[in-house]
Assembly symmetry: C2
Homo-oligomer: 115 residues x 2
């Protein structure tokens, strides 16, 4: 890989690390982490979420009941203001990453769109 590619990737990595979005995400994580009740609730939620994602990736069926349970858990979890805030800034960070990905991978999108 050309040095130029690495340099550009590290520059983008640094820009992400310095971004408002990442700093807000870091801060929101620390606030959840420092609050035992919030952290426990959030860990539970993450566990359910990762379980579903794993099932999906492995092509296992996800029941109607499991989806309803997950949605109910989101509802409960979002009652906690620190977690609600964390989810909000996570969403914003994910949007930024999505936009960056679209910019960076444009050469490949152009190429594959062309054939």
């Amino acid at each position: 890989m050309a040095v130029n590619l690495y340099d550009s990737a590290y520059a983008l990595e640094n820009a992400i690390r310095q971004s408002d979005e990442f700093k807000q995400l870091q801060q929101a994580y620390q606030e959840v982490n420092a609050d035992q009740a919030a952290k426990q609730l959030f860990d539970q939620f993450r566990h359910i979420q990762m379980n579903l994602q794993q099932k999906q990736m492995m092509g296992q069926n996800i029941s109607e009941q499991e989806i309803q349970q997950a949605q109910a858990t989101v509802g409960v979890v979002q009652q906690n203001p620190k977690i609600a805030h964390l989810m909000q800034v996570e969403q914003r960070m994910n949007n930024v990453i999505g936009e960056l990905n679209q910019i960076v991978l444009k050469p490949l999108a152009d190429l594959y769109g062309q054939i």
Copy 2:
């Protein structure tokens, strides 16, 4: 999103576009594209591949027979030297993208690893 983030993303996009790996991929695509027999074979292969990926993403079962058919098609397709070369440079480009992703997304990996 901060201007800095956009600038860094566009710099990386440009570095990818200028990279040996991308230029080789472009070249290899053009060579397959310009060869009617190779192009037809490759389109068939892509169709099978995308079909399987779609099934996988939608959590549908992929039969043993479908996997064997796909593998047989890879075997046939790789007999074509232009396609074999294209697949090789595609693999190299994918590896580069994977490495870049790991560098760029390190701040998030660090954060999520920490909680």
